[in-house]
């Protein structure tokens, strides 16, 4: 049996195809990207090695909107952590304590998560449409005509307008993660607390939330990293415009590479996004401290 299970040919046949595809498509390109980021290259002529110049250009005397884009992605990260996650947490706490229709609400809240971002983006584009959109229509109907706006076309409102659907779409996702975690807490802890006269909010803040720390950490990491990498909805809604008002690093990277043919400089942005995500993950891990549960 040992012989069968250490059959080299079978192991090779089983593992090699997957490993090869994975290596060539997922891992190697990262090294390529890093290499490209050291070049001045338009994709047609031969690239010239310029060391870290592309990275310097990202931060020193930058005029192409990169600094704004990083700032915007940070704002999105902050909003995700301090608006999106608290709403998810509240919903998760209510649902996990057993309320009528628990399963129904959970199922409904999760629907936006599984829909294509293109569908969500197109839908919100119609909601924001200045002439016939849902938002301006409702504002007019309730007498707040003065608030109607060219939501996506106005540099003042574009950023907020693209953030709303992003936050809206993934509230259900975080809720479900938190809900699953809250549900796994043994109920006798609650019963004991109740006998001792604890109120529902005391139970939530003193028992449930502390016990959910591992999943809260995961949610914060997802929310922050997801914000650093945000692309789809912004690309569909504004493509970073108007005048970089809603630009994030990945939309800028995309346009830099595929519309302005700055392969080297765009790759530096890609590498920046990976490093930013990695460092972000490590910092959040540290902030939450070592967790005992997992």
């Amino acid at each position: 049996m040992e012989k069968i299970l250490s059959d080299k040919k079978a192991i090779f046949l089983f593992v090699f195809p997957a490993f090869l595809v994975f290596l060539v498509i997922v891992l190697l390109p990262i090294f390529f990207s890093f290499y490209y980021s050291l070049l001045k290259w338009d994709g047609f002529s031969k690239g010239v090695f310029i060391g870290l110049q592309n990275y310097k250009n990202l931060f020193i005397n930058n005029t192409d909107g990169f600094i704004i884009s990083v700032k915007n992605s940070f704002i999105l990260a902050v909003l995700s952590v301090f608006i999106q996650l608290p709403i998810s947490l509240l919903l998760a706490l209510i649902l996990s304590r057993g309320i009528k229709g628990e399963k129904f609400y959970r199922t409904v809240y999760f629907i936006p998560v599984i829909l294509s971002t293109v569908v969500i983006g197109q839908l919100w584009m119609k909601i924001y449409n200045p002439n016939y959109g849902l938002l301006n229509f409702i504002l007019t109907k309730i007498g707040l005509q003065s608030l109607t706006n060219q939501w996506l076309g106005n540099t003042k409102t574009a950023l907020g307008a693209v953030f709303v659907p992003i936050l809206w779409q993934y509230i259900g996702y975080h809720m479900l993660l938190m809900y699953a975690s809250a549900k796994s807490i043994p109920t006798d802890i609650y019963e004991a607390a109740k006998i001792d006269g604890a109120t529902e909010s005391q139970i939530a803040f003193r028992i449930t939330i502390p016990l959910m720390k591992p999943i809260l950490k995961v949610c914060v990491i997802f929310a922050v990293i997801g914000s650093f990498k945000a692309f789809d909805l912004i690309y569909v809604l504004t493509n970073g415009g108007p005048l970089h008002a809603s630009e994030v690093p990945s939309t800028l990277m995309y346009n830099m590479i595929f519309f302005r043919y700055q392969y080297g400089y765009g790759s530096a942005m890609a590498i920046f996004i990976i490093l930013e995500s990695l460092i972000g993950t490590i910092i959040i891990q540290k902030l939450f401290g070592k967790d005992e549960a997992y």
Binding site: V15, F22, I25, I111, F137, V236, Y254
Partner: protein
């Protein structure tokens, strides 16, 4: 007396609190669902209603022809078929690759199994941004741009890490006795994999398939970059170009969006628990 009144009062407060909570949950359900319902409404309206003040309510005339227009002149039928081909190929190929490699990693005895597993799992953290341009160049040099392969190959590759993560976890929970006795009876490793393991890991494969379906069906960045031939476009890219063409035709665009969503909603209605599970299970790893 006072005590009883107090108790009643407390119970009353609790009831009010409960109603408030329920009201909140209902309002939130409306916030999550109404935009989607509104999408359906304008997908069955004509322009006179949409641009003539009936943007909110039910259509006066149900304009189902928006759907046939989206399917035929809007090309959504073509995009739908393309998305289906790409998604089915991705799920089938990635399931085979994941099942065989996870099996060899967990069950078979070789020196580098742990190392290979670690490398695979590292892939879960790789953002597709970082691979976009190199893949574009590779696919261009191989003359694969504007083919189904240009999407299926990357989708399969990116489905592998999560699949292996889920399946290796599942395989550890399956007892070895069945295989062991099969080997004693002279069964080969291939037969044991096919006849014993494959049927046992079907639940995990289903979870992986749902996860892969969602990420493939909804993928935008690769599809937008590697495909510009209308005949090969998948739904996400196709709808982007459709909305560029039909800026003033909300009905057909809405219909296209609804059509693109139907399979996902159908799967969700039939398998809501499994869909939720498949998206949560990957998060545990963090």
């Amino acid at each position: 007396m006072k005590n009883i009144a107090n108790k009643n009062n407390k119970r009353g407060m609790k009831k009010i609190g409960l109603y408030l909570l329920e009201a909140m949950l209902v309002i939130w359900a409306i916030i999550q669902l109404y935009p989607l319902f509104w999408l359906f409404l304008f997908s069955v309206k004509n322009n006179t209603e949409i641009f003539g003040g009936n943007i909110l309510g039910f259509p006066r005339i149900w304009q189902w022809s928006n759907y046939s227009e989206a399917l035929s002149s809007g090309n959504v039928g073509r995009y739908f078929i393309n998305s289906s081909i790409v998604t089915v190929l991705t799920i089938v190929i990635s399931s085979i690759l994941v099942a065989t490699s996870a099996y060899a990693i967990v069950r078979m005895k070789w020196k580098y199994s742990k190392l290979v597993l670690t490398i695979f799992l590292m892939g879960m953290m790789v953002p597709i941004h970082a691979t976009l341009l190199p893949l574009f160049i590779i696919l261009k040099n191989l003359n694969l741009l504007n083919t189904y392969a240009s999407l299926v190959i990357p989708y399969v590759a990116f489905a592998i890490p999560m699949g292996i993560f889920i399946l290796t976890g599942f395989l550890y929970t399956i007892p070895r006795e069945l295989e062991e006795s099969a080997f004693l009876d002279g069964c080969s490793i291939y037969k044991s994999f096919y006849y014993i393991i494959l049927p046992l890991i079907r639940p995990a494969l289903a979870t992986i398939a749902i996860f892969t379906y969602l990420s493939t069906w909804n993928e935008l960045m690769f599809a937008n970059t590697f495909i510009n031939n209308d005949a090969i476009k998948t739904l996400t890219v196709g709808i982007m170009s459709l909305s560029g063409q039909y800026q003033t035709e909300w009905g057909p665009i809405g219909a296209g969006l609804v059509i693109a969503t139907i399979p996902t909603i159908l799967i969700y209605v039939l398998l809501s628990e499994q869909v939720q599970k498949s998206l949560v299970v990957g998060a545990v790893k963090g």
